[in-house]
């Protein structure tokens, strides 16, 4: 019998500094780790602990994983101290992943906040690898300051694809920034998509998700078409350790992405 609590060794191939607090780790696992966009892995720092991350790389490359990590606590601090060549562990994948099949033929709005663009990037890869699968991909991205925007070198490439547009905003004006200023929700006003048939997926801080979901419903999206990457402490990955539940749903097993319709009436679900 396999041991689902035992991490698989993975070599750190490269460390990419995205922002002062965000790094992307390129991992080469001892065996390929097939995953669907939106499914997450547990990254294990030997002797320190585990933390959950959704890969930011393409699901079509299970032998080379990119994981983008914001330094926020004990395990992420240990991850940020890693150098190329060191060995860590991975477990997973866990969760359902994004509802890719439901995006076929639809206009897709992707709303990211800060490091929340990382899991969505995996979805973008999956969509870009299927030209014409989604009718349209509109990327809305917000960060507090220009220096905190992830994956900056890729925006131009994304926006140049047919049917794809990209807009970034920062919370407050900053020297040298000529783009949009304001919270990411301000990018959701006056979108040229049909909210009745479009689908939106969002990942970011809980408070952002709350306002993004409300705004999308306000502009006409059905709650069933708004998917939120819920934030909870996911540990075992199997729905059994008891800490990541939102109502009766264990996010590590049945999430982490849930529709707004599934969570809007659950007490404490969105703070």
């Amino acid at each position: 019998m396999g041991n689902d609590f035992e991490p698989l060794p993975a070599r750190v191939e490269e460390v990419v500094v995205e922002t002062p607090t965000i790094r992307t780790f390129v991992l080469r696992p001892a065996a390929p780790v097939p995953f669907r966009a939106g499914q997450f892995l547990q990254l294990y720092v030997p002797g320190v602990g585990e933390a959950p991350f959704t890969p930011s790389s393409s699901p079509s490359e299970p032998e080379r994983l990119e994981i983008t990590v914001l330094r926020a606590g004990r395990v992420t601090a240990a991850l940020h101290a890693l150098r190329a060549g060191e060995e860590i562990g991975v477990r997973g994948p866990f969760g359902r992943g994004y509802p890719l099949a439901r995006l076929e033929g639809r206009e897709v709005v992707v709303v990211g906040g800060g490091v929340g663009l990382a899991p969505l990037r995996s979805l973008l890869h999956a969509l870009f690898e299927r030209p014409g699968f989604a009718r349209r991909v509109s990327i809305k991205y917000g960060a507090r300051a220009p220096g905190e925007l992830c994956f900056r070198r890729q925006y131009a490439d994304w926006a140049a694809r047919p049917g794809v547009d990209f807009t970034a905003t920062i919370d407050r004006p900053a020297e040298g920034w000529t783009g949009r200023v304001g919270l990411v929700t301000t990018l959701l006003d006056g979108m040229d998509v049909d909210p009745r048939t479009a689908c939106a997926l969002s990942c970011g801080p809980e408070v952002m998700l709350r306002f993004v979901a409300r705004k999308l419903v306000d502009v006409g999206f059905p709650a069933e078409s708004v998917f939120l990457s819920m934030n909870r402490n996911m540990s075992c990955g199997m729905g059994i350790c008891g800490r990541c539940n939102v109502g009766s749903v264990f996010l590590c097993r049945d999430g982490p992405d849930l529709s707004y319709a599934e969570v809007r009436h659950v007490p404490y679900a969105l703070g």
Binding site: E6, G47, G73, N233, M238, C241, G242
Partner: protein, 351 residues
Amino acid sequence: MKRIAAPALARLAAELARTHDVFVPLAAGDRLVLGRLDPAAPPAAIPWNPWRLSEPLKSIWFPPGRVLARWPRPAAPPAPPRPRALFGAKGCDLRAVSCLDRVLRDHEFRDPGWCAARESTLVVAGDCTGAADSCFCTMMGDLPHPRDLFDLCLSPLEGGFLVEAGTERGERLLAGHGDLLEEAPPGAAERRAEAREALAARVRKGNERFPVRDPFEKSVAKHEGTAIWGALAATCVECNACNIACPTCHCFLLHDLPAGEGAARLRLWDSCFHAGHARMAGGLTPRLQLTERFRNHYHHKFVSFPRNWGVTACTGCGRCVEACMGRIDKRECLHRLETRWIPSEVPAEVD
């Protein structure tokens, strides 16, 4: 049906102790807990517990701390556990085992430790012959005698025990120890049924003071977001004793630490009453308030567990009632949840 006399049962346990770790009820102060039978000095009689032990059986199969993995991965798989035999399990204990089987065995993820321990343990269960004040299995739709998941079931009768095999393993054990058995006297099965029904009636009567009619799922779910939880949790001191004593509670923490040249991963019992139970990196803590955690505990047992696993995660064993230093009685809470009783002050009987 066969009968086994008390001294013969003790001989059976002593023989099992040659090849098994045998756990039997042992006195600890005024309580009975599980203890290991000393094969060098087997007792003349196996102590009989009239109702469930103070200790939940999960402490044997799902111990408070266990190494789950080592880093780097060891070349050889772990040695299989020494077989065990367990005396003293009651109906509510086995109901709890069926709950944990659903979580730890019967789906796509299987807990290797739980599965190995379950398979290698011979369960010698027994009818309840009395009930603690806190017993409420009948409120949970169960009965005070084992109905499944035992290898052997003992029912005290006239100085000995009626013995029933529940598995092939149990049948084989009986077949191999025919010298210890005798034919049951005529009418024994009927007298067993009468004794079982009489005790069930007694447990039902003892719980008449907590009338409930609605399904628990409905009573608990209707209070999502209401103030009643603050009233119910008024005397909770967050000691976690109810979680530790509960035979179905299984929240755990994966604790990683350096070990020798590598590292080890431990699984430790955890409690949903800890303020930091659901805390995330960065400090955001869902269920920061005790009332939210209290509600979550009931929601998990009576709403979420049935929705996820098909059964209620409360067996009515009453250990939480016994363990609570705030004198919170689950039966009373369920009754209040159904009737929406909200006190204006902390009940006077709590001193």
